[in-house]
Subunit: 150 residues, 2 copies
Protein backbone atom coordinates (compact mmCIF):
# COMPACT_ATOMS: atom_id res chain seq x y z
CA UNK A 1 0.00 0.00 0.00
CA UNK A 2 2.87 2.34 0.77
CA UNK A 3 4.53 1.54 -2.56
CA UNK A 4 1.25 2.23 -4.36
CA UNK A 5 0.70 5.53 -2.60
CA UNK A 6 4.30 6.59 -3.32
CA UNK A 7 3.82 5.59 -6.93
CA UNK A 8 0.53 7.52 -7.22
CA UNK A 9 2.12 10.59 -5.71
CA UNK A 10 5.45 10.57 -7.51
CA UNK A 11 5.09 8.70 -10.77
CA UNK A 12 1.52 8.53 -11.96
CA UNK A 13 0.54 12.13 -11.27
CA UNK A 14 2.66 13.43 -14.09
CA UNK A 15 1.69 10.96 -16.77
CA UNK A 16 -1.97 10.17 -16.29
CA UNK A 17 -2.33 8.65 -19.75
CA UNK A 18 -0.66 5.50 -18.49
CA UNK A 19 -2.43 2.41 -17.24
CA UNK A 20 -1.68 1.18 -13.74
CA UNK A 21 -1.84 -2.60 -13.34
CA UNK A 22 -2.52 -3.81 -9.84
CA UNK A 23 -1.15 -7.33 -9.52
CA UNK A 24 -2.01 -9.48 -6.55
CA UNK A 25 -0.38 -12.89 -6.25
CA UNK A 26 -2.05 -15.46 -4.03
CA UNK A 27 0.80 -17.60 -2.80
CA UNK A 28 -1.23 -20.78 -2.94
CA UNK A 29 1.99 -22.72 -3.41
CA UNK A 30 3.04 -22.73 0.25
CA UNK A 31 -0.16 -24.48 1.21
CA UNK A 32 -0.06 -27.05 -1.55
CA UNK A 33 3.58 -27.91 -1.07
CA UNK A 34 3.08 -28.51 2.65
CA UNK A 35 0.31 -30.83 1.58
CA UNK A 36 2.62 -32.77 -0.68
CA UNK A 37 5.54 -32.81 1.72
CA UNK A 38 3.92 -34.02 4.90
CA UNK A 39 1.31 -36.30 3.44
CA UNK A 40 -1.56 -34.64 5.27
CA UNK A 41 -4.82 -34.90 3.46
CA UNK A 42 -7.36 -32.16 3.66
CA UNK A 43 -11.00 -32.67 2.81
CA UNK A 44 -12.33 -30.71 -0.12
CA UNK A 45 -14.27 -28.65 2.42
CA UNK A 46 -11.08 -27.43 4.06
CA UNK A 47 -9.47 -26.71 0.72
CA UNK A 48 -12.55 -24.79 -0.42
CA UNK A 49 -12.55 -22.77 2.80
CA UNK A 50 -8.87 -21.91 2.48
CA UNK A 51 -9.45 -21.02 -1.14
CA UNK A 52 -12.38 -18.79 -0.29
CA UNK A 53 -10.43 -17.09 2.47
CA UNK A 54 -7.50 -16.48 0.14
CA UNK A 55 -9.91 -15.04 -2.41
CA UNK A 56 -11.50 -12.76 0.14
CA UNK A 57 -8.11 -11.42 1.21
CA UNK A 58 -7.14 -10.78 -2.40
CA UNK A 59 -10.40 -8.96 -3.14
CA UNK A 60 -10.18 -6.92 0.03
CA UNK A 61 -6.64 -5.77 -0.72
CA UNK A 62 -7.38 -5.02 -4.36
CA UNK A 63 -10.48 -3.03 -3.37
CA UNK A 64 -8.40 -0.97 -0.97
CA UNK A 65 -5.80 -0.38 -3.70
CA UNK A 66 -8.47 0.66 -6.22
CA UNK A 67 -9.95 3.06 -3.67
CA UNK A 68 -6.53 4.65 -3.23
CA UNK A 69 -6.30 5.14 -7.00
CA UNK A 70 -9.79 6.67 -7.17
CA UNK A 71 -9.07 9.01 -4.27
CA UNK A 72 -6.06 10.39 -6.04
CA UNK A 73 -7.97 13.49 -7.05
CA UNK A 74 -8.25 15.35 -10.35
CA UNK A 75 -6.55 13.08 -12.82
CA UNK A 76 -8.32 9.78 -13.21
CA UNK A 77 -5.91 6.85 -13.23
CA UNK A 78 -6.72 3.98 -15.57
CA UNK A 79 -6.48 0.85 -13.42
CA UNK A 80 -6.50 -2.81 -14.37
CA UNK A 81 -6.50 -5.66 -11.89
CA UNK A 82 -4.68 -8.98 -12.23
CA UNK A 83 -5.03 -11.69 -9.59
CA UNK A 84 -2.95 -14.82 -10.01
CA UNK A 85 -1.76 -17.73 -7.92
CA UNK A 86 1.73 -19.14 -7.61
CA UNK A 87 5.21 -18.22 -6.50
CA UNK A 88 5.16 -14.40 -6.43
CA UNK A 89 8.65 -14.25 -7.93
CA UNK A 90 7.69 -16.18 -11.04
CA UNK A 91 4.25 -14.63 -11.42
CA UNK A 92 5.46 -11.04 -11.12
CA UNK A 93 8.21 -11.58 -13.69
CA UNK A 94 5.85 -13.34 -16.10
CA UNK A 95 3.10 -10.74 -15.83
CA UNK A 96 5.57 -7.84 -16.23
CA UNK A 97 6.73 -9.38 -19.50
CA UNK A 98 3.22 -10.20 -20.69
CA UNK A 99 1.80 -6.71 -20.21
CA UNK A 100 5.03 -5.20 -21.51
CA UNK A 101 5.36 -3.00 -18.43
CA UNK A 102 7.29 0.27 -18.68
CA UNK A 103 8.28 0.04 -15.06
CA UNK A 104 7.61 -2.47 -12.28
CA UNK A 105 6.89 -0.87 -8.91
CA UNK A 106 7.01 -3.11 -5.90
CA UNK A 107 7.11 -2.89 -2.16
CA UNK A 108 9.75 -4.58 -0.08
CA UNK A 109 9.32 -6.21 3.29
CA UNK A 110 12.76 -5.19 4.37
CA UNK A 111 13.47 -8.57 5.97
CA UNK A 112 16.59 -8.91 8.03
CA UNK A 113 19.63 -10.93 6.99
CA UNK A 114 18.40 -14.29 8.27
CA UNK A 115 14.89 -14.09 6.89
CA UNK A 116 16.31 -13.10 3.50
CA UNK A 117 18.67 -16.07 3.52
CA UNK A 118 15.77 -18.48 3.99
CA UNK A 119 13.00 -16.76 2.13
CA UNK A 120 14.94 -15.04 -0.59
CA UNK A 121 13.89 -11.58 -1.57
CA UNK A 122 11.03 -11.26 -4.04
CA UNK A 123 12.08 -7.77 -5.02
CA UNK A 124 15.69 -8.87 -5.50
CA UNK A 125 14.62 -11.77 -7.73
CA UNK A 126 12.41 -9.51 -9.82
CA UNK A 127 15.05 -6.78 -10.09
CA UNK A 128 17.41 -9.36 -11.53
CA UNK A 129 14.99 -11.11 -13.86
CA UNK A 130 12.54 -8.55 -15.16
CA UNK A 131 13.70 -6.68 -18.25
CA UNK A 132 11.99 -3.38 -17.51
CA UNK A 133 13.22 -0.95 -14.85
CA UNK A 134 12.24 -1.99 -11.34
CA UNK A 135 11.37 0.51 -8.62
CA UNK A 136 11.59 -0.86 -5.09
CA UNK A 137 9.74 1.20 -2.51
CA UNK A 138 10.30 0.46 1.16
CA UNK A 139 8.03 1.67 3.89
CA UNK A 140 10.10 4.09 5.92
CA UNK A 141 10.60 2.97 9.48
CA UNK A 142 9.95 5.53 12.16
CA UNK A 143 13.41 6.40 13.41
CA UNK A 144 12.46 5.64 17.02
CA UNK A 145 11.46 2.02 16.38
CA UNK A 146 14.37 1.36 14.02
CA UNK A 147 16.97 1.59 16.73
CA UNK A 148 15.59 -1.30 18.77
CA UNK A 149 15.78 -4.32 16.49
CA UNK A 150 18.33 -3.39 13.86
CA UNK B 1 24.48 6.02 -19.15
CA UNK B 2 21.38 4.08 -20.13
CA UNK B 3 19.95 4.47 -16.61
CA UNK B 4 20.63 8.20 -16.76
CA UNK B 5 19.00 8.61 -20.13
CA UNK B 6 15.96 6.58 -19.00
CA UNK B 7 15.77 8.70 -15.88
CA UNK B 8 16.01 11.97 -17.85
CA UNK B 9 13.29 10.82 -20.22
CA UNK B 10 10.86 9.28 -17.73
CA UNK B 11 11.40 10.84 -14.33
CA UNK B 12 13.11 14.19 -14.54
CA UNK B 13 11.09 15.64 -17.42
CA UNK B 14 7.99 16.02 -15.30
CA UNK B 15 9.51 17.53 -12.20
CA UNK B 16 12.29 19.80 -13.34
CA UNK B 17 12.50 21.63 -10.03
CA UNK B 18 14.42 18.68 -8.63
CA UNK B 19 18.18 18.41 -8.41
CA UNK B 20 19.89 15.49 -10.08
CA UNK B 21 23.01 14.26 -8.27
CA UNK B 22 25.49 12.40 -10.45
CA UNK B 23 27.53 10.11 -8.23
CA UNK B 24 30.65 8.43 -9.52
CA UNK B 25 32.46 5.98 -7.26
CA UNK B 26 36.09 5.22 -8.00
CA UNK B 27 36.55 1.68 -6.78
CA UNK B 28 40.08 2.31 -5.52
CA UNK B 29 39.62 -0.49 -3.03
CA UNK B 30 40.24 -3.36 -5.46
CA UNK B 31 43.67 -2.01 -6.25
CA UNK B 32 44.68 -1.36 -2.67
CA UNK B 33 43.45 -4.68 -1.35
CA UNK B 34 45.41 -6.57 -4.01
CA UNK B 35 48.40 -4.60 -2.76
CA UNK B 36 47.81 -5.74 0.81
CA UNK B 37 47.00 -9.32 -0.06
CA UNK B 38 49.89 -10.27 -2.31
CA UNK B 39 52.61 -8.14 -0.78
CA UNK B 40 53.53 -6.46 -4.06
CA UNK B 41 54.93 -3.02 -3.61
CA UNK B 42 54.34 -0.31 -6.13
CA UNK B 43 56.43 2.79 -6.35
CA UNK B 44 54.70 6.07 -5.68
CA UNK B 45 55.06 6.77 -9.42
CA UNK B 46 52.92 3.79 -10.30
CA UNK B 47 50.35 4.66 -7.66
CA UNK B 48 50.21 8.24 -8.88
CA UNK B 49 49.75 7.06 -12.47
CA UNK B 50 46.93 4.71 -11.51
CA UNK B 51 45.36 7.49 -9.49
CA UNK B 52 45.59 9.93 -12.37
CA UNK B 53 44.12 7.39 -14.78
CA UNK B 54 41.26 6.68 -12.39
CA UNK B 55 40.64 10.42 -12.06
CA UNK B 56 40.64 10.87 -15.83
CA UNK B 57 38.10 8.09 -16.26
CA UNK B 58 35.84 9.61 -13.59
CA UNK B 59 36.02 13.07 -15.16
CA UNK B 60 35.41 11.71 -18.64
CA UNK B 61 32.31 9.78 -17.55
CA UNK B 62 30.92 12.64 -15.48
CA UNK B 63 31.46 15.03 -18.42
CA UNK B 64 29.51 12.70 -20.68
CA UNK B 65 26.72 12.46 -18.11
CA UNK B 66 26.56 16.23 -17.70
CA UNK B 67 26.39 16.63 -21.49
CA UNK B 68 23.42 14.24 -21.55
CA UNK B 69 21.66 16.36 -18.94
CA UNK B 70 22.35 19.58 -20.85
CA UNK B 71 21.13 18.09 -24.12
CA UNK B 72 17.81 17.20 -22.58
CA UNK B 73 16.17 20.18 -24.21
CA UNK B 74 13.77 22.80 -22.89
CA UNK B 75 13.74 22.25 -19.17
CA UNK B 76 17.10 22.83 -17.59
CA UNK B 77 18.04 20.12 -15.10
CA UNK B 78 19.90 21.22 -12.00
CA UNK B 79 22.88 18.88 -11.75
CA UNK B 80 25.38 18.32 -8.96
CA UNK B 81 28.40 16.05 -9.17
CA UNK B 82 29.82 13.86 -6.42
CA UNK B 83 32.98 11.81 -6.97
CA UNK B 84 34.10 9.50 -4.18
CA UNK B 85 36.37 6.51 -3.69
CA UNK B 86 35.63 3.24 -1.96
CA UNK B 87 33.38 0.23 -2.18
CA UNK B 88 30.52 1.38 -4.42
CA UNK B 89 27.98 -0.38 -2.22
CA UNK B 90 28.94 1.53 0.90
CA UNK B 91 29.52 4.85 -0.82
CA UNK B 92 26.21 4.85 -2.70
CA UNK B 93 24.25 4.04 0.45
CA UNK B 94 26.07 6.68 2.48
CA UNK B 95 25.68 9.42 -0.12
CA UNK B 96 21.98 8.63 -0.65
CA UNK B 97 21.41 9.13 3.07
CA UNK B 98 23.58 12.24 3.26
CA UNK B 99 21.85 14.12 0.46
CA UNK B 100 18.47 12.84 1.64
CA UNK B 101 17.66 11.51 -1.82
CA UNK B 102 14.01 11.15 -2.86
CA UNK B 103 14.86 8.25 -5.13
CA UNK B 104 18.09 6.44 -6.01
CA UNK B 105 18.39 5.56 -9.69
CA UNK B 106 21.06 3.07 -10.63
CA UNK B 107 22.08 0.95 -13.55
CA UNK B 108 22.62 -2.77 -13.27
CA UNK B 109 25.24 -4.86 -14.99
CA UNK B 110 22.94 -7.82 -15.25
CA UNK B 111 25.66 -10.26 -14.28
CA UNK B 112 24.92 -13.96 -14.58
CA UNK B 113 24.45 -16.28 -11.63
CA UNK B 114 28.13 -17.08 -11.13
CA UNK B 115 29.41 -13.53 -11.38
CA UNK B 116 26.75 -12.41 -8.90
CA UNK B 117 27.77 -15.12 -6.44
CA UNK B 118 31.36 -13.86 -6.42
CA UNK B 119 30.91 -10.16 -6.89
CA UNK B 120 27.60 -9.59 -5.20
CA UNK B 121 25.21 -7.18 -6.78
CA UNK B 122 25.71 -3.51 -6.05
CA UNK B 123 22.12 -2.70 -6.95
CA UNK B 124 20.81 -5.52 -4.76
CA UNK B 125 22.86 -4.33 -1.81
CA UNK B 126 21.67 -0.76 -2.24
CA UNK B 127 18.03 -1.79 -2.71
CA UNK B 128 18.22 -3.56 0.63
CA UNK B 129 20.11 -0.93 2.57
CA UNK B 130 19.06 2.46 1.27
CA UNK B 131 15.97 3.91 2.92
CA UNK B 132 14.62 5.79 -0.09
CA UNK B 133 12.97 4.07 -3.06
CA UNK B 134 15.48 2.51 -5.46
CA UNK B 135 14.96 2.38 -9.21
CA UNK B 136 17.08 -0.22 -10.99
CA UNK B 137 17.39 0.34 -14.72
CA UNK B 138 18.87 -2.39 -16.85
CA UNK B 139 20.12 -1.84 -20.36
CA UNK B 140 17.80 -3.86 -22.58
CA UNK B 141 19.61 -6.60 -24.44
CA UNK B 142 18.95 -6.85 -28.14
CA UNK B 143 16.88 -10.01 -28.46
CA UNK B 144 19.26 -11.48 -31.05
CA UNK B 145 22.37 -11.39 -28.86
CA UNK B 146 20.52 -12.49 -25.74
CA UNK B 147 19.82 -15.96 -27.05
CA UNK B 148 23.47 -16.94 -27.26
CA UNK B 149 24.81 -16.77 -23.75
CA UNK B 150 21.76 -16.89 -21.54
Amino acid sequence: MYALSWCLKNIISQCCKDTLFLLYVRSAQAFHSSLDGTGYLFSSDVLATVDKYSNDVANCIIEKAKRMCREKGDDEVKVEVIIESGDPRDVICRVAENINADVLVMGSHGYGLIQRAFLGSVSNHCAQNVKCPVLIVKKPKSSSSATGTK
